[in-house]
């Protein structure tokens, strides 16, 4: 399936959407296809990831972000569409459903575990506990029946649909990721519909050579997309490095609404898919970002 087909088939207006990747394999290609298809009123959950959120916000695709951090990590520098939306309501008012990094991870974990909540030893006493006021009960406390202590609990997140960008998957959807996993394993398994985008599609034999690298198994996967470089400008361990220059310049290049529109046209709406995006990026940059190989981690699985 192509990313275009997968997003068309599984991502719908008003959905709660999980987008995977924390540093490693951020789902930029998926997010940009969502923009091209002009989806509306999506709620996006993701532990952090400023410039991805910023693009979805700027394009008017999302009216709620559920996250712990929205900024350009390179610098660090502000993300202007995000600021424009919250401070000025441009292009629309959005809700920032404030999370802490660990709180949203525990919410995904609750979703992963098929449980309605997870306890966490934090958040109490902070404003995150109950802001914003218009998104329902964000956290509560329960009394531990064993120790008597009051402990904070956070609710499960079970998004309607999720997308991840991983190093490799087989054609059935068994997907493997290594390096940083972030919230990706628990986040994607908590979703109702699942799209796996992979740098390479491999034979199932390759999956079975190190089955502990699998983060989601085929029985839950609805679409497999072969999407090389789908994480650019983030990195994918073993495949390509972060495009620091591109990410650094993003803040400068999107500071005004006019500049943002030029940027959006150049990188998103003016291209049809990731292959065309890569043409805009250019062979020279691709060559520069390509990872130098470090093959390691084999162990003896013998018996």
């Amino acid at each position: 399936m192509t990313m275009k087909e997968a997003i068309k088939k599984f991502v719908h207006n008003n959905n709660l959407v999980f987008l995977g990747g924390f540093g490693n394999g951020i789902t930029f290609s998926a997010a940009q296809e969502i923009i091209r298809q002009n989806k509306r009123n999506l709620s996006i959950c993701k532990c952090a990831g400023g410039i991805l959120f910023d693009q979805l916000i700027g394009a008017g695709v999302t009216n709620q972000i559920i996250t712990s951090h929205c900024w350009n990590g390179i610098g660090p520098q502000p993300t202007w569409n995000f600021k424009r939306a919250i401070e000025e309501g441009i292009p629309q008012k959005i809700i920032y459903n404030e999370q802490s990094l660990f709180m949203i991870n525990m919410s995904f974990f609750a979703g992963y575990m098929g449980l309605p909540f997870m306890p966490i030893r934090s958040i109490v006493g902070t404003s995150i506990y109950d802001h914003p006021k218009d998104v329902g009960v964000k956290a509560a406390t329960v009394k531990c029946p064993f120790t008597g202590e009051e402990i904070c609990v956070v609710p499960a997140l079970n998004p309607d649909v999720g997308v991840i960008q991983v190093q490799r998957a087989d054609s059935e959807g068994n997907a493997q990721m290594w390096g940083l996993i972030g919230d990706t394993k628990y986040g994607i398994n908590s979703c109702k519909k699942i799209i796996v985008a992979a740098e390479v599609i491999v034979d199932k034999k390759v999956i079975m050579e190190s089955p502990e690298r699998t983060i989601i198994s085929a029985h839950k996967v609805n679409a497999v997309v072969h999407e090389p470089w789908g994480g650019h400008p983030s990195y994918m361990q073993g495949f390509y490095y972060t495009d620091l220059e591109y990410r650094f310049n993003y803040t400068k290049e999107t500071k005004t609404l006019e500049d943002w529109e030029i940027w959006l046209e150049k990188w998103v709406t003016g291209v049809d898919n990731r292959q065309e995006y890569l043409k805009v990026l250019g062979q020279e940059k691709i060559k520069k970002l390509k990872a130098k190989s470090i093959m390691q981690g084999a162990v003896d699985y013998g018996f």
Partner: protein, 278 residues
Amino acid sequence: MGFNETKYCKEYTGFEMMLVSACRHINSNDIVFNTFHWPFLAVHMAKLLKYPDLFLVLEVGLFQNELVKSKKMPYSITDPVLIPNSVFTGDSIDALSVLQRGEITLALLSTSIIDKYGNCNTTVIGPYEKPIYRLPGGGGATEIAGLSKRLIWLLDEHSKRRLVEKLDFITDPGYLDGYDSRVKAGYPPDTGPDSIITPLCIMQFDSITKEAYLDALHPNVTIEQVKENTEWDLKVAKEVKQIEPPTIREIEICRKTMRDAIDQYYVLKPEWTIYLDK
């Protein structure tokens, strides 16, 4: 001030002094929660200066106790260069487990706005619903501030808009409303802010009221200067300590670290870097 002049650096910026002071707070046997972004530099300095095998936990679920071999400084806590130099990688829940089990003996965090009880705001200036200025949000700092045994806040600017009486939004818990309010909220009694390090001074927290007070001055800074630049009516230790100036070696490593950071696209204000090319 009684410090041997030949050993010390004469010219340095307040930002550099803040980093040097932060670095000095790190002990060899600390289990350190290392965070973006100024703590990253202070910890990098500590590894170069004194403890190359310092044990670090990162919020992405990565434990490290070797000096990163790469010539480049990691551009962030998610830099892929970190992976083949770690002794453990997992996910954020693994990092949370270390925090919640009470194993972190030291955490360094940078923030932009702090109140007198050591609570911080990285969310919003102005009313939450009608913000004057929206900030990025807290990331993992909420739990790191809540659950680390010794917590040190770094502020790169000591001003009344940065050190305030009361916050618009508490992103990260300090001592909340002071006294025993933090413990009452449920945080472990052996946790909480230890110090605030700014370009001007180091503050500590009163053992009863949990209000921050001036404990030690960076060189060539006066008590008045600190009080004038703090919004609340800052209390002062009976004997305010005088902090040792940065040594030539400390500043050497500090500037190398700052240069490495700039190479990795860290934005440093011009006034912090005036000595970098000298």
